[in-house]
């Protein structure tokens, strides 16, 4: 099995990966970072969103070997120690999550949306979150959370 070397949440790791190991499986099972979730098998739900070299990807749609040499960010790396990222805080403040299963992917996507467009409006947020399905909230509190998170991220 070939080995890959990646930086995950700032730490470099080298692991052997199988030819058909998905990046999501690699993150969950080999790195034990189980905050990245798998909710479907057709790259629709977005629960597995991570950043790969700064861009959000659905980690179930990438082979682990494709990430060789890349910088990966997962939900576990977002908080600063015990201090949650402003987007995480905003999700809690606005009740932007219920069962929590879609939440890691939703938050990773939201942070990236705001980083790419700090002044994003409600329409932009709704379209930007189209690749992340939440079955619990009806999205309204997520939208409000992203607005508040964006404001906090702008500082």
């Amino acid at each position: 099995m070939p080995a890959i070397t990646v930086r995950v949440n700032g730490l470099e790791v080298t692991k052997e990966v199988g030819a058909r190991t998905l990046l999501s499986t690699f993150i969950r099972e080999q790195l034990k970072l189980t905050g990245t979730h798998v909710g479907c098998d057709t790259s629709q739900c977005g629960a597995c969103v991570v950043t790969l070299d700064g861009k959000t990807v659905k980690s179930c749609a990438v082979f682990a070997w494709e990430a060789d040499g890349a910088d990966i960010g997962t939900i576990e790396g977002l908080a600063d120690g015990d201090k949650m990222h402003p987007m995480q805080e905003a999700f809690r403040e606005h009740h932007g999550l219920q069962c929590g299963f879609c939440t890691p992917g939703m938050v990773m996507t939201a942070v990236s949306l705001v980083e790419n467009n700090p002044d994003i409006d409600e329409d932009g947020i709704r379209h930007g979150l189209e690749g992340n399905i939440c079955r619990c909230t009806g999205y309204q509190n997520i939208i409000d959370a992203v607005k508040t998170g964006a404001k906090a991220m702008r500082g």
Partner: protein, 783 residues
């Protein structure tokens, strides 16, 4: 029974305790449960809707390196395990004879009856080996004619699915006085009839089902971690009925559960199969469904075709209602599936409206589809759709105003309490006020301008309302157990099951509020057969109604014991001691004692009066609900329809709910908005669709459309709080399901309003662009 008003706890938008865990990626869901040296299981599922299994050859698969165990139907037969039972509350035909319950074994024996039915279990060292092994299993099927639609299943000459169920009928049902209904129809000026479809949908929690089973050969005990909403009841069924290992030998636990909505309530085959495998292999076994398997094997919901008739007078007075439903049960009974189209859909017939007579009748046939079981609302969305669609349809046929029709016929508050024609105890509420408030908040003043703006773009705008009446359900008993730990923490164990609703917060909020404790000192446990003796789990919007009442009852008992401890210290009678804001005190004296002080005193006999034992404040109590509660409310909806493409944009949504007392409005509104999204999904896009050969066409998230962020409108949620119920200790009526009860009729009514100028007065759900476009085209063609 007096309703209880807490000084603290009730009415606080407490932010959620569980959120930090979920937001930082530290939730522990079923796929995060791993046992050392666990094996992996996968299920080979039937590709045939109806077929005899002539043979299964597992030799090649079994020889594959890393394969540990393969179990087929023949193997299952030899184990002597029992089938999975059904627990429907309705169990007899109208004529009194028993419902037909075919044997639902965890693996298909000799014949398959739906696509996705488990045919074999494969256990191997890895999931990849399981997949490879499944490819190597040769099953020889001999196809049989199949039937997937309930209307076809009950026709003469339809393929017969079970020998014990002639005509494929599992059960029939009636409720209400047919003679009174018939007389009302005879006396009325008009009878309007509409055939309507309540489409088959599926709960689709974002976390697929899964389980991990372990077996200890030394003790003979099993442990099952299961993404289930109903830990205690399902333990009893699995251990006592199916495997016959004794429920004391099965420790059943749900870790964090990523959504359920009813779809994780039932007893499923897979956890049973892996318990068997764990025992055979003396090794932990893990099984996780993938999403495509979930569409095939998670129970489905709704799926009724109904003929609804309303009788009314020239002045709009409702006289009678008659609904004849045929509900598709799928190939087996499900855990309680046959209750949904029968009893479940009957009780709220007629909604909050006055009728002289209502009669409901249903037939529940088997088909070659995945079994039906509860999905959020389970019968009440169907009942609400019946009445609120027929009102709008009748209004269109008779040239009446659907809002005025509702206004005229709502049950007035002075008529309450009353027993509805369907036997519901409607104790309190103010339906006219809730309805008027719904209209008031829905920005009617700005409507004409918005219509104009839509018309200018070539769009059609419509407004629709629904006035729903629903009822709670689920197990009537619940336990709340409080244990004060030596480290100062307070363990609160409740038998309800949160799968995202926030019980970890709201139950703790209640306990903290009642006792004057700090939220952060409370450690919450649920969904664990070791945590509470009994547990009703999730279902029927019972979390606060029954679980919250149990927390309240236990809190009160703790306070009573605390009073005795305080009285002992102050040397006064216990009835002289009062409790307020976390302190026991004797009015008119300087005697005070904090609850913490009482807790710290409880383990030393010297601090206790003679009639108390050490540990006396550690209390568990069971609350039992007498009569189910009646949540009700109004939904209003505005839509914009593109007549050229048939696309629908839901553009505004307003709700006024009467849930009685609101304990945590933030959580209640979260439930309502999530329910509306599921109702919108059912109304506009979701459809479990089997083709004529019994293949599931909508078998992935590419084909089964779920609402996304840009499908949803901004929603305004308000509450009518002036009618708390006395049926439970908190005055609550249940909030969990109301959103998806009210949304489908409100949305379809709004679309039909938008399309009325074309003469389109009904379209069956889901209102996909194609169906809407065709309806407009057909209406134009017939002029």
């Amino acid at each position: 029974m007096a309703t209880y008003v807490a000084r603290n706890g009730i009415g606080e938008n407490q932010r959620r305790v569980e959120d930090v865990r979920f937001l930082t990626g530290h939730g522990k869901y079923i796929d995060d449960v791993n046992i050392e040296n666990q094996a992996y299981a996968m299920v080979l599922r039937s590709p045939e809707a109806h077929a005899d299994i002539k043979s299964i050859d597992v030799s090649e698969a079994a020889a594959l390196d890393g394969v540990l165990l393969i179990v087929t139907g023949d193997d299952w037969k030899s184990t002597g395990y029992d089938p999975i039972p059904t627990k429907s509350a309705v169990r007899t035909f109208i004529d009194g004879s028993d419902m037909k319950v075919p044997p639902h074994h965890a693996l298909a024996i000799d014949r398959v009856r739906y696509v996705g039915q488990p045919v074999a279990l494969v256990v191997a060292e890895t999931q990849d080996i399981c997949r490879d092994a499944m490819e190597l299993i040769e099953v020889d099927y001999e196809s049989l004619p199949s039937v997937t639609h309930q209307s076809e299943a009950i026709k003469e000459g339809a393929p017969q699915i079970w020998d014990i169920a002639p005509g494929n009928v599992c059960l029939d049902f009636e409720l209400g006085d047919e003679e009174v209904q018939k007389k009302a129809f005879a006396d009325a000026d008009h009878v309007i009839t509409l055939n309507m479809v309540n489409n088959r949908v599926t709960a689709t929690p974002m976390e697929p089902r899964g389980a991990v089973a372990d077996f200890d050969p030394e003790t003979g005990k099993f442990t099952l971690w299961n993404s289930s909403q109903n830990i205690h009841a399902n333990r009893d069924t699995i251990a006592d009925v199916v495997l016959k290992i004794g429920k004391e030998n099965l420790h059943h636990i749900a870790p964090d559960v990523g959504g359920g909505f009813g779809g994780k309530n039932g007893v499923y085959p897979e956890p049973i199969l892996i318990l068997h495998a764990a025992k055979e292999l003396k090794r932990a076994v893990k099984w996780i469904n993938d999403r495509s398997e979930s569409f095939l094997s998670d129970t489905h919901g709704r799926d009724q075709v109904s003929k609804v008739q309303i009788a009314l007078d020239n002045d709009g007075t409702f006289r009678g209602l008659r609904t004849e439903s045929v509900g598709n049960l799928g190939a087996f009974c499900g855990t309680v599936g046959s209750f949904t189209p029968t009893g479940g859909s009957s009780r709220t017939q007629g909604g909050p409206f006055k009728f002289d007579g209502i009669y409901y009748t249903a037939i529940a046939p088997f088909t070659n589809t995945c079994p039906l079981d509860p999905y959020r609302g389970a019968g009440r969305p169907e009942g609400s759709y019946h009445i609120d669609r027929i009102i709008d349809y009748a209004a269109a046929q008779l040239g009446m105003d659907p809002i005025e029709l509702r206004r005229k016929n709502l049950i007035p508050p002075e008529a309450l309490p009353m027993k509805s024609p369907m036997g519901l105890d409607i104790d309190c509420g103010n339906f006219p006020e809730v309805f008027e408030e719904t209209i008031r908040i829905s920005d009617r003043e700005g409507y004409a301008k918005r219509v104009e703006a839509s018309e200018a773009k070539g769009m059609k705008r419509g407004f629709g309302v629904c006035m729903y009446l629903e009822c709670t359900g689920g197990g009537p008993k619940e336990e709340a157990k409080v244990t004060f730990l030596d480290n100062g923490k307070v363990e609160l164990s409740v038998g309800t099951a949160s799968t995202g609703m926030g019980h970890e917060t709201v139950h703790a909020q209640l306990l903290a509020g009642h006792l004057g404790l700090a939220m952060e000192d409370i450690v919450f446990r649920q969904s664990d057969t070791d945590a509470t003796e009994i547990g009703g789990g999730h279902g029927g919007s019972r979390g606060l109604e029954v679980g919250g009442s149990a927390v309240t009852q236990t809190s009160r008992q703790i306070i009573e014991v605390g009073k005795k401890i305080a009285a002992h210290r102050f040397d006064v009678d216990a009835d002289k001691v009062e409790f307020e804001d976390g302190r026991f005190h004797v009015p008119g004296t300087n005697h005070t004692m904090t609850i913490r002080d009482a807790i710290d005193s409880q383990n030393d006999p010297d601090n206790l009066p003679d009639d108390l034992e050490p540990g006396c404040m550690n209390i568990s109590s069971v609350f039992e609900r007498g009569i189910i509660s009646i949540p009700n409310g109004g939904h209003a909806c505005e839509v914009e329809v593109d007549p050229e493409t048939g696309t629908i944009k839901v553009d505004g949504y307003w709700v006024v709910d009467d849930f009685g007392t609101i304990v945590n409005e933030m959580l209640a509104s979260g439930q309502v908005m999530g329910g509306i999204a599921q109702g919108l999904g059912q109304a506009l896009m979701e459809d479990i669709y089997y083709d004529e050969s019994g293949q599931l066409v909508t078998g992935s998230l590419m084909d089964y459309a779920l609402p996304r962020a840009d499908d949803m409108p901004r929603m305004v949620i308000a509450y009518y709080e002036d009618a708390p119920t006395e049926k439970n200790l908190l005055g609550v009526k249940g909030a969990g399901e109301a959103g998806c009860v009210g949304a489908p009729p409100a949305i379809v009514n709004a679309v039909c309003d938008a399309l009325k100028e074309y003469g389109v007065h009904h379209i069956d759900m889901p209102l996909t662009p194609e169906k809407v476009w065709k309806a407009i085209r057909d209406a134009k063609a017939t002029g």
